[in-house]
């Protein structure tokens, strides 16, 4: 079970798992937000702020470290990644392939878009040169925190869920993604808790 995510500087890792993986991802995002600023790029409308707020125990300082951007089409995913600047803050991409499973877009076009996205993921994983004091503090607001968190450099985590209806195109897209990731982790669905037998 995933309880925390550790972005590796200069590279990004891939997490493949069922949709139930999302809640643990959100908890892990809150944990990471305790230590540094981070950018969440949501490709499948998976970011539930209430879950993150609960995991962060409602602490505003943690929530203020997390910046969320959403995309609702595969074109918007590329546009979002293009417009995201390289900083020292690590990034988390939630359900990257969700919009790429859309069969109303030609598979060739989806692959082209995904390849462009991968180039931007590589760019974002590499930390940019620090600019000024704020960058040196890992993007924290000045004077906001009494305890300086350990400096984290960029790196990223990308999560994907298998499509509801398996298809050859989805497998190709996933393998394209896997080929670019430094590490790929497969999360198994958690075994459901045994329900007590009902008497009535």
């Amino acid at each position: 079970m995933i309880t925390s995510i550790e972005p590796k500087a200069g590279s990004w890792i891939l997490l493949v798992g069922p949709r139930s993986l999302n809640s643990t991802m959100l908890t892990a995002i809150a944990r990471l937000g305790e230590r540094c600023s981070l950018r969440v790029l949501d490709g499948g409308n998976r970011f539930n702020a209430y879950t993150v707020a609960r995991a962060a125990r409602g602490r505003r300082d943690i929530l203020e470290h997390i910046t969320v951007s959403r995309a609702f089409t595969c074109y918007q995913v590329l546009s979002l990644l293009e417009s995201t600047p390289s900083t020292q803050a690590p990034f988390v991409v939630l359900d990257l392939l969700n919009t790429f499973y859309d069969e109303s877009v030609q598979i060739g076009e989806r692959k082209r878009l995904l390849r462009s996205c991968l180039a931007h993921l590589e760019r974002l994983a590499v930390p940019s040169a620090p600019r000024g004091a704020e960058a040196a503090e890992g993007g924290l607001p000045r004077g906001g925190a009494t305890r300086r968190p350990p400096r984290l450099v960029a790196g990223g985590v990308v999560s994907v869920h298998p499509p509801a209806v398996p298809s050859q195109a989805a497998i190709e897209l996933l393998s394209l993604l896997q080929a670019s990731a430094v590490d790929t982790f497969f999360a198994q669905p958690a075994a459901s808790a045994l329900e007590p037998m009902r008497l009535f």
Binding site: N48, A49, Y50, F72
Partner: protein, 87 residues
């Protein structure tokens, strides 16, 4: 494009469902009291939505407390009324 956050009603129903096992373990009288608490919180869902609080369950708890306090105020008024009549 869809909702980026569940509505207050959806969150409320999720929270209520999360307490289903707790409710099941309670005595019948306590189950009814718990149901009353959730019913009182349900009356303030519109306010909870407007509050956009990061932890909506806190708002639901406050809604329950609000209704309980209203009940205490009503009962206090009645006691004072009865006492004033007896004098």
């Amino acid at each position: 494009m869809g909702r980026t956050l569940p509505s207050a009603t959806q969150v409320f129903l999720q929270e209520e469902a999360a307490f289903a096992r707790f409710r099941r373990a309670l005595r019948r009288a306590d189950q009814l009291a718990l149901d009353d608490l959730f019913t009182s919180a349900r009356q303030h869902l519109a306010a909870a939505q407007y509050a956009s609080h990061a932890l909506p369950f806190e708002v639901f708890l406050l809604s329950m407390l609000l209704e309980e306090h209203k009940e205490v105020m009503r009962l206090r008024e009645r006691v004072e009324d009865i006492l004033s009549r007896q004098k």
